[in-house]
Amino acid sequence: MKRIARMLIAGLAVSSLLAGCASGVKHAEMAASMPTLKPGEGRIYFLRSASMFGAAIQPDIRLNSQVVGESKPGGFFFVDRTAGKYVAAASTETEKTLSFMLDAGETKYVRSSPSLGLMVGRVVLELETPEKAKEELASLSYTGDQVKAAAK
């Protein structure tokens, strides 16, 4: 009886963790449907590894104070913006912002990673190198709505 209860609890824990992971279309599968950049704009990818560490922490991601998406384990999304200065942040306990410059025609990659905070977990944003980001993107799932909106 104890063994069944233990298995049930373990199953519930695993399924609740999995439910928190991104499950959309993979980047490799949607490459053809990606909208092309408009003149004067650049693209910002937001990505997060499919690690189970801190999987329950899924804050909004803000770009220049505007919510553009959510940080989900194993997920990515992108936004196109006019060239200029940007500040990205995750809405968690401690706000650690990331400031960067986006040039026209440029693609920047922002990685979100969970870390320990004083009271609860938090998500920190960092710029990722194009090489590492492209390598990881292929296995990540799309969590944004830009492609769907563009197709309508």
């Binding site: 200065k85 940007y86 500040v87 401690t94 650690k96 912002t97 990331l98 400031s99 960067f100 410059m101 920047k108 870390s115 320990l116 905070g117 004083l118 920190v124 944003l125 960092e126 710029l127 990722e128 190198t129 194009p130 090489e131």
Partner: protein
């Protein structure tokens, strides 16, 4: 039992202390800066780092500049020439994270230009760089 609770208490204290430090990292010191841009960008001077360099920031964080990394001059500040990384990115970190370009004077890294804020952040300890021309 006593030694276990003593050990656990020390572990908790150490964890709490390190968390407090990470939450209270100092801000990067900056001053407003306007880069005098190079024209045209296509003929920008490129340099290569011939040996790795480690940069210790006043915030406690450090950054490694890789050997063979290439840097393209984008402009000039009163403090030195401004170089952005080619094919990669550089950030500096304190309470926040900032994209950064190198500011070099006489083959010495004297600080960083933060393009996302148009600020200059000086280094307390300048770092000599082994720089060579790049194609």
């Amino acid at each position: 039992m006593t030694s276990f609770s003593f050990g656990a208490r020390r572990l908790w204290l150490a964890t709490g202390f390190s968390l407090a430090l990470s939450a209270c990292a100092p801000m990067i010191a900056t001053t407003p800066a306007t880069v005098e841009l190079m024209q045209p960008a296509a003929t920008a001077k490129r340099v290569q780092l011939l040996a790795p360099a480690q940069v210790k920031l006043d915030t406690g964080y450090s950054r490694d500049l890789a050997a063979k990394s290439t840097w393209s001059q984008v402009g000039r500040l009163p403090q030195g020439d401004v170089y952005r990384p080619v094919g990669t990115i550089l950030t500096i970190e304190g309470r926040h994270v900032h994209e950064a370009y190198l500011v070099v004077r006489n083959k010495t890294l004297v600080g960083f230009y933060l393009p996302g804020e148009q600020n200059y952040s000086p280094l307390t300890t300048a770092v000599p760089l082994n720089l060579g021309e790049s194609e």
